[in-house]
Symmetry: C2
DNA sequence: AATTTCATGTAACCAGTTACATGATTCA
DNA sequence: TGAATCATGTAACTGGTTACATGAAATT
């Protein structure tokens, strides 16, 4: 039905978590409110509707653990299509656009990737990521050289921060590739 | 009327830009679509309503440059209250929460800060920023030590990236402080 | 003459926020 | 027995997205 697997960041986060192990809405909220994944809202008004949407898409399925209680606890697990959609989303090519404006999504993708598709694909992702970051880095450097004089010291410092961030991401990716490559055979 | 200066990120970006020099909606869109500030949507459906909202708040005022054309060009400039609200927003203390979940907003604040309130206040901001980032860094490190063994290599790498990012931000801030301090007297 | 850029807007939609609401279970 | 935590949800609102729409001015 809905082909565009245009996962929102929140949906991706939820799908990825449930992919690791079945969770209830409350469990998801707990993860978002107590771990470094906490920049996602853990508000019920975000989580429960999102779970319903995702279930309606057929990517997860809720199972009622109603041990005679009135308040049923709904534990969601990934369906087969869900796993497929997730894997497809995670392994999409890394674009320039992603690197420029959706770095956080890329990191989220990485965090789930190894678990869903394994080491080889993860290394592939990281290589694309590194290449794209390095490309962007050099074009940013060029842009900066062009506008450097026209900017205030503050503007320059702000841009330096951007450069630093990309640089550290590139280095991290290269390091990660090495580690993953020598950890498996 | 509306006291809560709960600027959304987009409003802050617009307000900050207009604070540097008067701009039309089209000008704002152009900045968002051609500079590193481009992760803001430059879509008219975002910009024009936002400008109206901000104007209704009394923070900017549009002036029609209608050189007899039918399509008037609206150039917005910051009002006095606007400048006050902006300055107040930019100089708010840097919180742990900001550092954890709104790093991009902090960078945006920094980028405008020097222009709006000057070097001394900017340095103060950077010192708070550095301190808060360093504090968060050490608590993150601690958290990581606790959960390190329980995590997959992928999870560990993802967390490493987080640590790297904070580390580089802390270093950047310390460097920026030094530069700004020795650049003025 | 045709295309691109300037310039401003609206309408339908969607996702997320805040605040509210309910009630069971466990712990002090 | 009172508080905290478990557990799920709704309703009103807000802000941003996508797509549509219009037309002047400048460039090719």
């Amino acid at each position: 039905m809905q082909e565009k697997n245009q996962l929102s960041t929140l949906s991706l986060a939820i799908l990825g978590l449930i992919g690791q192990k079945p969770l209830s809405g409350y469990d998801v909220r707990k993860v978002f409110s107590t771990t470094p994944m906490g920049h996602f809202s853990s508000s019920p008004g975000a989580i429960y509707p999102a779970l319903k949407r995702i279930e309606k898409n057929g990517w997860i399925k809720g199972e009622v653990k109603n041990r005679k209680t009135l308040r049923p606890k709904l534990v969601f697990k990934l369906t087969d299509t869900g796993r497929k959609v997730l894997a497809e989303h995670l392994t999409r090519p890394v674009t320039k656009d992603d690197v420029m404006w959706h770095m956080d999504d890329l990191m989220l993708r990485f965090a789930f990737l190894g678990h869903v598709v394994g080491r080889k694909q993860t290394v592939k992702f990281l290589k694309e990521f590194a290449a794209e970051v390095e490309a962007h880095l050099s074009s940013l450097r060029q842009y900066m050289d062009e506008v450097r004089e026209t900017m205030s010291p503050y503007g320059r410092l702000a841009m330096d921060n951007g450069l630093d961030s990309y640089r550290v991401n590139a280095r991290w990716a290269r390091r990660a590739i090495k580690q993953l490559q020598q950890s498996g055979e």
